[in-house]
């Protein structure tokens, strides 16, 4: 019963390690290195990397920028299921768009074109929120006080939902936004 007793060989650290164990340790090590290299490789050659462009901000500053963006680029308004008017805003291809996360909606509706790249600015007005683009399944944390500029290129046209997947209180399940890709 030696795992619960002091090692029977008092000089246990001098006992040689068996070949099989060495081999397994080696495999585990090499596999770890491969996984490390994969992440770096993806930064260089992969097409899905989370942007590192982040600015400190405040809810007021971010809201002001977003309102300006909405005022300049609104295409039309849509009536949502709750009877609210929501602007549908077209981001100029290659340009900057703003998406506000707040209790409990994503604002405004964004319209994008397939194959174009957009800089989408994400921030929260209050609690943490989770940007979960469905059915694509891309998930990004949205944090108040931080403006995260994510470059996205839609690859298929359609109507997409933004689910909030960071718990934000009692209305969390109603926090659903929309993106159109033409």
């Amino acid at each position: 019963m030696s795992a619960i007793l002091p090692p029977s060989n008092r000089l246990w650290w001098k006992q040689p390690i068996d070949k099989v164990e060495w081999a397994w340790i080696g495999i585990a090590f090499v596999w770890g290195m491969i996984m490390f290299v994969m992440m770096v490789y993806w930064h260089v050659f992969g097409k899905q990397n989370l942007s590192n462009e982040v600015y400190k901000t405040t809810p007021e500053m971010f809201a002001a920028k977003a309102e300006k963006f909405i005022a300049e680029n609104t295409l039309r308004t849509e009536t949502d299921l709750n009877g609210q008017q929501v602007p549908v805003v077209k981001i100029p291809p290659g340009g900057d768009g703003f998406l506000i996360a707040r209790l409990w909606n994503w604002y405004p509706i964004l319209e994008l074109e397939k194959g174009q790249t957009y800089k989408i600015h994400l921030s929260s007005m209050d609690y943490l929120h989770g940007f979960s683009l469905q059915p694509v399944n891309i998930n990004i944390e949205v944090i108040p006080g931080y403006e995260h500029v994510v470059r996205m290129t839609p690859t298929k046209s359609g109507t997409y939902a933004i689910v909030c997947n960071e718990y934000c209180g009692i209305g969390h399940h109603t926090m659903l936004g929309r993106i159109y890709v033409k």
Binding site: M1, S2, A3, I4, L5, P6, P7, S8, R10, W12, W13, Q15, D18, V20, E21, W24, I25, I27, A28, W31, G32, M33, M35, F36, M38, M39, V40, K47, Q48, N49, L50, V54, D80, N82, T117, D126, Y127, L128, P135, V136, I138, N139, I140, E141, V142, I143, P144, Y146, M152, T153, T155, V163, C164, N165, Y167, G169, G171, H173, T174, L176
Partner: protein, 566 residues
């Protein structure tokens, strides 16, 4: 201080009176929290089951907060205190250092747990166990957790002090037993963890009292996960120690190599606690370099450590079985293992489930870019129910089948039900974890009351497969609750009604561990004779590796198919 020592006649373990009482009380407190956690689990699962949707939204979030706190903090920590006292005082056969202080620690944990639960059930603290700012709970929610942490820190300190007592009283010769060494790594990580916890929860408590104006939400997440992630390493170190313990008690298994196993435990201390980064991979506030360095450089050494234990634990069992003559083919040692002994079957399911499900899913989830596919989806609780439940909780449950007769001196009641309990719980929980991960892969969110989005401004229909997965989550969740409830019933029933067993001789002096302890030690100095090949374990390990590699690259493939991001 006068104390007595009792030698259990069936196991030969020696229990010091103070340590024995503390272990019992901690274990009982843990089981009671598991009961509360289990009831909340049932309510959670019945609400997330789309066809049932039992609770209204506010009650669901309240109950889910209670489930997280009562399970991952209170059940686990109380049981771990018992494990620490066992690994120090019992295995080293010495008195427990400062028992009065140990009781103070116990009561702080009890009171803290109750205070925190009162805050939750009063309703103003449905913030989940992570309590991310700026969502605010009542001050006594944080205060309760702080009290629990202080209590646990005291218990950890007493563990170290007891190691010193054993050394001073010379109750053992040579080095610490491997299990004690593993527990020591758990205790070292616990100290770090609790200090990070203090660094974040005390300011948060001040903030809830209005004494601090603001806490940065990103900073909170970073420091909080210094607590949240490292505490999972305590659990891993603790349940790996229990695997070795069970292998030793059931098979008389010797570690294949003391050096390798201890080195692997050491890696946990060196690297695991720094891996809290993998909870922040999809956050804005950290750079990619920071993420890649912290997850890979540090986590993969910890992963390597777990892969080593995953090899050496079954390897030790195989070697012990082969020495007993089960040498046919690759797997006779495993086929002829005591599958009817719940201590063994539970431990083995814990080992396999933790490795194949928890380990692999954890590493994939912790890969910087792949994390974006799963962050905050149902995949995440799916993953950690295969680590902290199939791994840790099941290991704790299985060792209890050994502890009830030795520590509590009661025979287990209803042995047939004891036999099936680990299978019922372990298998249903493993499947639950898998279908939760399945739902998460399809995008379904965690901590989310309504996948139909009632009341939302737009509509979104999850694919039918997602509803199927959530339905299966419901079914297997309910079975798992039955399996967990059965364990509580068996344990509490045995404590109350089990046949009383002879406690064994009591003396007022400890009997030190005799020098020449194992039968093997007669030949151990010629190491070569002692060596047994473990081909079955090699095959199992390679199977793990192949599964791991395939699943890992499948996820890169999924990632390459989503929108382009830069």
């Amino acid at each position: 201080m006068a104390t007595t020592y009792r030698t259990c006649p069936s196991s030969g373990l020696q229990f010091e009176n103070n340590a024995e009482k503390l272990m019992r009380w901690h274990a009982v407190a843990g089981v009671l929290w598991l009961l509360v956690g289990g009831i909340t689990a049932l309510l959670v699962i019945l609400t997330r089951w789309p066809a049932i949707k039992l609770l209204p939204a506010d009650e669901f979030y309240l109950i889910l907060t209670a489930h997280g706190i009562d399970m991952i903090i209170l059940w686990i920590l109380h049981f771990e205190m018992a494990v620490l006292f066992f690994a120090s005082s019992t295995l080293l056969r010495c008195r427990l250092a400062t028992p009065k202080l140990a009781w103070l620690g116990f009561w702080l944990m009890v009171i803290g747990g109750i205070v925190c639960n009162v805050a939750i059930f009063q309703g103003g603290s449905s913030v989940m166990f992570t309590s991310y700012v700026p969502m605010q709970a009542a001050p006594h929610f944080y205060l309760g957790i702080i009290l629990v942490a202080v209590g646990a820190l005291i218990g950890t300190g007493i563990f170290f002090a007891t190691l010193v007592v054993a050394k001073k009283d010379k109750t053992y010769q040579g080095s610490l037993p491997l299990v004690t060494f593993g527990a020591m790594t758990a205790a070292i990580i616990a100290t770090f963890t609790i200090l990070s916890g203090a660094a974040i929860l005390i300011p948060t408590f001040f903030w809830s009292m209005g004494w601090i104006k603001e806490i940065d939400a990103q900073l909170y997440r970073m420091v909080w996960w210094g607590l949240g992630h490292s505490s999972q390493q305590i659990n891993v170190a603790a349940h790996v120690s229990i695997w070795y313990l069970t292998a030793a008690v059931v098979f008389g298994a010797k570690p294949l190599s003391e050096k390798v196993s201890r080195f692997a435990f050491l890696l946990y201390i060196l690297f695991l606690q720094l891996a809290s980064a993998h909870h922040l991979l999809s956050d804005p506030g950290m750079s990619s370099e920071w993420k890649v360095l912290n997850t890979s450089y540090f986590m993969y050494f910890a992963v390597m450590a777990s892969m080593i234990h995953g090899f050496t634990v079954p390897g030790a069992i195989e070697a012990a079985q082969r020495k007993k003559g089960y040498t046919n083919g690759l797997f006779e040692w495993l086929r002829k293992a005591p599958w009817g002994n719940p201590a063994f079957s539970g431990m083995f399911i814990s080992l396999v489930g933790f490795g194949f499900l928890g380990g692999i899913s954890g590493v994939v989830l912790g890969t910087e870019q792949i994390n974006m596919l799963m962050h905050n989806t149902f995949y995440v609780p799916g993953h950690f129910h295969t680590t902290v439940v199939v791994g840790t909780t099941l290991a704790f449950m299985s060792i209890t089948y050994i502890l009830v007769p030795t520590l509590f001196r009661r025979e287990m009641i209803l042995p047939k039900l004891c036999q099936i309990q680990p299978y019922l719980y372990g298998i249903s929980m493993s499947v639950l974890g898998l279908v939760m991960m399945g739902a998460g892969t399809l995008g379904v969110s965690r901590r989310h009351w309504d996948m139909a989005f009632s009341g939302a401004p737009f509509q979104y229909e999850w694919p039918g497969a997602a509803y199927l997965m959530m339905g299966l989550t419901g079914v297997f969740g309910v079975i798992a609750v039955v399996g967990g409830g059965l364990w509580i019933l068996l344990v509490v029933g045995s404590l109350l009604f089990g046949k009383k067993l002879n406690g064994g001789k009591v003396s007022d002096k400890p009997t030190p561990i005799p020098l020449d302890t194992t039968a093997a030690s007669a030949t151990a100095h010629t190491d070569k004779d002692d060596h047994v090949a473990v081909p079955g374990t090699v095959v199992l390990a390679l199977l793990l590796l192949v599964t791991f590699v395939l699943y890992y690259f499948v996820n890169w493939k999924y990632l390459s198919e989503v929108w382009l991001l830069s």
